[in-house]
Symmetry: C2
DNA sequence: AGCGAGCGCTATATAAAGTGAAGTAGTTAC
DNA sequence: GTAACTACTTCACTTTATATAGCGCTCGCT
């Protein structure tokens, strides 16, 4: 089902039962979640790269969001036994499905000057 | 600029300066904001209709979100001097631009079973 | 006349989420 | 030796959301 078709179904009334929009928002809850996803859309990133890019995020929240996304199967985490040890985060196939959301947000944000 | 083009620009690196995704998320911040928008996409709604549809929302938050959306120019609020007085909320032209976001969320939420 | 229901909220108290500064443990470059 | 990099954790604090109660009004019912 496409986004447009889903929208037409939504138009019939309130989502009484589990609505796909609500499910998406439950998964993507949290102030920084979609910004982490945005950064990962351009390829795998290390913890410190994300921290630098997401100006203002606290390390606690970044770690929490990455763990949550990993638990959802949206992000893959890989630790390398280098020196100092580095960790890489990468979107899974399923995680890449969020491209459309980020695109739509970017489009909307661009119109809101 | 389309969503895809914006995505390609994002791919170059972190959004150091005001990123459209970040701007969108700032505006749409809050757990219930996008669910309110989802409901309003199918036409104008009254306060009590929204409250019934958004099972679990507290009246305080609903009022706050509607006020915020109105302040952003995304929602139009109209009070009728009927008995009892009714209030109608409706998406503005600018508010309708969020259709793409809700569509993308619905599409993603549908894949996350 | 009195009762409860519906309208669109607001008030107050409490729980959850996020912030900011600091700390941890190991390694390496100056 | 000391400062920095790595990926985080801990703690005290603020911000945000929830739960519950209530307001002033009018309507229909009895």
């Amino acid at each position: 089902m496409s986004g447009t078709e889903l929208l037409e179904n939504l138009a019939d009334g309130p989502c009484v039962v589990a609505c796909p929009v609500r499910r998406a928002l439950d998964i993507l809850d949290g102030k920084w979640t979609l910004l982490v996803v945005r950064d990962l859309l351009s390829g795998k990133k290390r913890y410190s790269e994300l921290q630098r890019s997401l100006e203002g995020i606290s390390p606690r929240i970044l770690a929490q969001r990455l763990r949550d996304l990993e638990a959802q199967g949206l992000v893959l985490r890989r630790v390398f036994p280098t020196n100092p040890p580095t960790t890489e985060y990468e979107l899974t196939e399923q995680g890449l499905a969020m491209r459309g959301i980020i695109g739509a947000l970017a489009e909307f944000g661009a119109t809101m000057v």
